[in-house]
């Protein structure tokens, strides 16, 4: 019911009319339902059904009326490209020249992708998917609601006086060995034993079905992607090659929106809504490995109906990308989460039995909407970072070297970045890469390694995406080269007040602020190793360093840090602790807070946009216009004042925000603030008039409201912040405290490092 309460509470954001109903009401809505073990339901009066076949036929008729040609019984044999752009399609009926190609081949999409030259990766694999039709049932109301029983993994509905029922079993059967060549093979022989788990749930939920006569059991195939999300958007391998696949049985309801988004992308170059979570460029090559897919999609259909717990982790396809220090971290209690195939420690358990090595691999499951089981571990790590030294594995971050012979790289980056990247060598600049609308395509740190060489650090999930963005803007003469060095470096972050003392014991480089200030870069020796790219920043707001270590030195440097760090009380720190730090510090993160629709002006980062650069960067006009017109939403930090983190359900993102009782936005990322001792929510606040149209907002508007956040139906009062707070600390650091990720426009700068140019 918690999930239903959350759905009900969040339905306001989508304007979906729905109600929580009692078991009695469920029974009234569908008298055949067994409600003995039912606690309640969610009733969506506007829910409906459609016939996929008829829908397709009518769409096709509409299209042909408007002059669209349809060829049937014609197979694609190749998709050709010229200059990285779609140029034509070869079919069994001859070749077709074309400018655009959309791969919406359903569960064949992966195979069709492989027909492209170069190959386009569409990582999905079909699974057997079962649904049965009964013979007609007497007195079955045609307005019988569609029933979904997520606990039983099943759904059922009325169809022509019969029941159609199916489900998403927790362990699915992927189609791996069989190659499905043509439409006549799209239904596989039924495996009743496999369907049995669903049949039992159906009979349990609707006992009347025991007497229903079977018409047929269908084993249709449905394709699932490795993360149970659709795959849409332009392929990274080829311009004008679009994908719309992996709809996992909801294609009929998704079709309209996906088609609109695809058409928008073709005509305008972007869609009306941010779609990075669904983009085909969220994958790496590993995701298209057929064996990986076979292992993974076994559990994917189950996720479709499973409980959407926060920080969902898959069980299969694990231990794929591992940093050199992975085994050591695992033996020290690391519990792992997977991101882009990378095993990233999320928190560290206390290791009780030191001798047990290797420790078994553990997956980071949260499995609650309340106070999570990892709370104490993360709290311990949080305080290590704030009062001692924390060591964290940042290796999964996307790392890209960009360089040129002459100044071409500087000119390219000035064009791509909204901040001024022409900074002295050794500086690090944090910048967005905006699109034409001013939204964030990427948010990254650029370290100027030498005059014409930058190292870009971007979020892990950007590894394919940001490379595509860069590549599409590279000068055609090849003067700027780009190399993905993600897998060459192990990144270890040490953070906390004593990190400078710790690191200075291991290197001869002078680490004093005057020589190595905040937000600068140096290539240094650590221990006996050399060539370590040290950056004086932590991405969390703590004092510290991120060391980019050539892989073969990683274990050495790690061991030295741990040995010398002992007297500073060094602890391992996982991702959740650094996340808690950055949320409390009000740091926005691309992919979680920022996306392609969010502009720097909306999230307090106007100070990082250099409108007066010589080179007109992408998105400048849009941002200038927004500066004139004002923004229509504002990124804020909200602290829940009357929330009990022990007893109340937590906010996990996506919760509605109310201003003076009116819905005004949603939270993005949230965390418990261990210093504030309060739930901290980041999110966007809008101003809507009575027709729901968004209006201009300013600081005064945002600050003058009374805010509440609705968590699963209960509203908690919240205090709003527009700027990064100064957290009280036992170890104040003048340099760090002045740095605020989110701040007022053109705030006068106080003390800054010699090279620091915000």
């Amino acid at each position: 019911m918690t999930v239903y309460r959350r759905m009900k509470s969040q339905s306001v954001s989508w304007s979906i009319d729905c109600d929580l109903v009692t078991p009695k009401k469920c029974h009234e809505l569908f008298p055949m339902l067994n409600v003995e073990d039912v606690l309640g339901g969610l009733w969506i009066p506007g829910d409906g059904v459609g016939d996929p076949h008829l829908l397709c036929m009518s769409l096709m008729r509409e299209a042909t009326d408007k002059g669209v040609g349809v060829m049937e019984d014609c197979s694609v044999t190749a998709v050709l490209s010229k200059d990285d752009k779609v140029s034509g399609v070869e079919t069994t009926n001859g070749a077709i020249e074309c400018d655009y190609f959309i791969n919406c081949a359903g569960f064949w999409a992966r195979q069709v992708g492989q027909l492209a030259r170069p190959q386009v990766k569409v990582p999905l694999l079909p699974c057997e998917h079962y649904y049965l039709h009964t013979k007609p049932i007497d007195n079955l109301d045609p307005m019988t609601p569609v029933i979904r029983d997520p606990d039983g993994y099943i759904y059922l509905r009325e169809r022509d006086g019969c029941i159609l029922a199916g489900g998403f079993e927790p362990i699915a059967k992927p189609v791996y060995e069989e190659e499905i060549e043509n439409a006549s093979q799209r239904c596989l022989p039924e495996d009743w034993d496999h369907f049995h788990v669903l049949l039992q749930e159906l009979l349990q939920r609707v006992p009347g079905l025991n007497q229903a006569v079977l018409h047929k059991l269908c084993n249709g195939l449905e394709a699932f992607s490795p993360d149970c999300k659709w795959i849409v958007g332009e392929a990274p391998e080829m311009l004008n090659y679009h994908v719309a696949a992996g709809m996992k049985t909801v294609g009929i309801s998704a079709a309209g929106g996906v088609a609109e988004a695809t058409v928008d992308e073709i005509i305008d170059g972007y869609s009306k809504y941010d779609m990075h979570e669904l983009g085909v460029n969220r994958f790496l090559g590993l995701h298209n490995n057929k064996r990986f897919l076979r292992d993974r999609v076994k559990e994917v259909p189950g996720v479709h109906y499973g409980l959407p717990y926060p920080f969902y982790e898959f069980e299969t396809g694990r231990n794929l990308r591992l940093s050199p220090i992975y085994p050591t971290l695992r033996d020290n209690g690391a519990v792992f989460g997977q991101v882009m195939g990378y095993e990233r420690p999320t928190w560290f358990e206390t290791v009780e039995n030191e001798s047990e090595k290797p420790r078994p691999f553990k997956i980071a499951h949260t499995r609650t909407f309340g106070k999570p089981p990892w709370f104490d571990a993360v709290q311990r790590e949080y305080w290590a970072c704030r009062e001692r030294v924390g060591l964290s594995d940042y290796s999964s971050f996307t790392k890209i070297d960009i360089q040129s012979q002459g100044r071409e790289v500087v000119e390219l980056l000035q064009y791509l970045c909204s901040n001024d990247v022409d900074v002295p060598v050794g500086s690090i600049i944090h910048t967005g890469m905006q699109n034409e609308r001013g939204g964030y395509e990427n948010d990254c740190s650029l370290a100027r390694i030498s005059e014409n060489h930058y190292m870009m650090i971007a979020p892990t999930i950007q590894q394919t995406r940001c490379k595509v963005w860069l590549k599409r803007h590279l000068p055609s003469n090849g003067s700027v080269t780009l190399s993905d060095v993600t897998s060459m470096y192990t990144a270890i972050c040490v953070m906390g007040p004593f990190t400078r003392s710790l690191l200075s014991e291991l290197t001869d480089t002078d680490l004093s602020p005057s020589n190595f200030p905040f937000f600068t870069f140096k290539e240094i020796d650590v221990g006996l190793a050399n060539g370590i790219r040290a950056m004086n920043l932590t991405h969390t707001g703590e004092l510290g360093y991120v060391l980019y270590i050539p892989n073969e030195f990683a274990l050495h440097v790690y061991n030295r840090l741990m040995t010398v760090g002992e007297k500073y009380g060094i602890s391992h720190v996982g991702y959740y602790a650094s996340r808690a730090l950055r949320v409390e510090k009000f740091f926005a993160f691309w992919g979680q807070d920022l996306d392609t629709m969010t502009t720097p002006l909306e999230c307090g980062r106007t100070w990082r946009v250099k409108f007066d650069k010589d080179i007109k960067f992408i998105g400048r006009d849009a941002l200038l216009k927004q500066r004139e017109d004002g923004i229509r939403r504002q990124y804020v930090q909200l602290l829940l004042t009357d929330h009990d983190h022990e007893l109340d359900l937590w906010s996990w993102g996506g919760e509605p925000i109310y201003r003076d009782g009116n819905y005004c936005g949603q939270t993005t990322t949230t965390s418990y603030g261990f210093t504030f001792k309060k739930q901290v929510c980041l999110g966007f606040v809008e101003k809507r008039d009575k027709d729901g149209v968004t209006q201009k907002v300013d600081n005064d508007y945002v600050l003058s409201g009374h805010y509440e956040i609705d968590i699963a139906g209960i509203r908690y009062a919240a205090k709003v912040n527009l700027h990064s707070p100064n957290l009280p600390t036992k170890y104040p650091d003048k340099e760090r405290d002045v740095y605020q990720a989110t701040r007022k426009l053109h705030e006068p700068q106080q003390f800054l490092g010699r090279h620091y140019q915000p």
Binding site: L132, T134, K135, E177, P189, E190, D191, W192, D193, H196, L199, Q200, L202, L203, L209, N210, Q211, A212, V213, L214
Partner: protein, 381 residues
């Protein structure tokens, strides 16, 4: 290794299973070793045996020992071509068949007495499927209606059954043609009747069965006194009608070849080679192979389907933990139903008294031989 399926009494099959391997082994001995071996007294056993459950009567032992010594002497005098497995298999099978005849007829020829023991061996019969494996070389000799089936696992992890042998029965058209050609045209209607040799014998080749091999005079003198005039089959004009000459097969084992199933017709009447291979394949993996459920009738209610599936699930739980793949095959051949192995059916069919059991099931003999893929991978080509 071999399977021996007897008929007309167990005597022939038991004797063959005891003696044939020695005959084969002797034929494979290098000539010098053979000479030395003949000199040995007492002679050591040529082969170690498994599953050796029957003991031969003392007086027969002496008789057989004499035959074997003669056979060794003959071998020593034969021109020796060196190690040749197919020749050895064929020689040994034909020779032992001849010895069965000799041991029954000789006492009569010498002393006009009938030895009922050797005679019952010669009058009963047995089919045999014998294999010899040497490194990657698999030789098979087959007489009668047993079959050898190879279980192959493809790269796509799918099981394929390769039937190596061709059974000698009336379904084998080449075999029918052979028999028709060996006898005058006027016997064409009688030599195979009701799919049987002379209307009596189902396998068209076998060991023993001298009622179909001896001339009429010998049958009259040796067999009729013991079992009466029906000893001579009807339409018995141009004997011999039966031979023990085996068909020989060779297969070079590859890493895809995982096992060989040798089984009597009792198994192959109950399941196809592919079913057998899948059962053994799944057994190898420790899983029970289930045929997918076929709904038993139309217009079935969902509740009934649920019952059926629960039943299948139950039999899955109580799945036979056969340690032996051959047992596993027999259990499925006899007890197999739509919802897995039905234990009560199995128990019933196995506990029938011997005199009626033949009406419900055939006897089944199965041997499964596994191949070491790692060894085969490293075998020189």
């Amino acid at each position: 290794m071999g399977v021996f399926d007897g008929h007309g009494g167990p005597a022939c099959a038991q004797v063959i299973s005891k003696r044939l391997v020695d005959y084969i082994a002797a034929a494979l001995l290098p000539i010098e070793t053979l000479h030395k071996y003949i000199q040995q007294d007492p002679r050591e056993a040529l082969v170690d045996t498994f599953n050796n459950r029957v003991e031969i009567l003392q007086e027969l032992k002496i008789l057989y020992e004499r035959s074997f010594r003669q056979y060794l002497a003959e071998l020593a005098n034969l021109p020796h071509e060196g190690y040749n497995v197919p020749t050895a298999l064929e020689q040994a099978i034909i020779k032992i068949d001849q010895d069965l005849s000799k041991e029954a007829v000789e006492p009569y020829k010498l002393n006009q007495v009938i030895n009922p023991q050797t005679l019952s061996v010669a009058l009963s019969g047995a089919v045999a499927c014998v294999t010899h494996v040497d490194g990657p070389n698999l030789h098979i000799a087959n007489v009668g209606d047993c079959n050898a089936v190879l279980g192959i696992l493809t790269e796509d992890k799918e099981w394929i059954a390769k039937k190596i042998t061709k059974e000698h029965n009336s379904e084998n058209f080449d075999e029918l043609k052979r028999i028709w050609n060996e006898h005058p045209d006027n016997e064409r209607k009688t030599v195979i009747r009701r799919d049987r040799l002379l209307g009596e014998l189902a396998p068209l080749r076998s060991l023993g069965d001298y009622r179909y091999k001896w001339p009429i005079e010998i049958l009259m003198k040796v067999a009729v006194p013991l079992i009466g005039p029906k000893a001579i089959p009807a339409n018995y004009h141009t004997p011999p009608y039966l031979t023990a000459k085996p068909d020989l097969y060779y297969h070079r084992l590859s890493t895809r070849d995982k096992f060989l199933i040798l089984a009597s017709d009792g198994l192959w009447d109950m399941m196809t080679p592919l079913q057998a291979v899948k059962l053994v394949g799944e057994h190898m993996k420790g899983k029970v192979f289930f045929n997918p459920l076929k709904l038993p009738r139309k217009n079935i209610q969902l509740g009934d389907i649920n019952e059926l599936l629960l039943h299948r699930k139950e039999s899955l739980k109580s799945k036979p933990k056969d340690r032996n793949a051959a047992t596993h095959l027999i259990r499925h051949a006899i007890g197999g139903t739509e919802y897995g192995v039905d234990h009560s059916r199995l128990a019933h069919l196995l506990s029938l008294s011997p005199d009626v059991s033949r009406m419900f099931r055939d006897d089944i003999t199965v041997t499964v031989m596994y191949f070491d893929s790692e060894f085969l991978r490293q075998c020189p080509a």
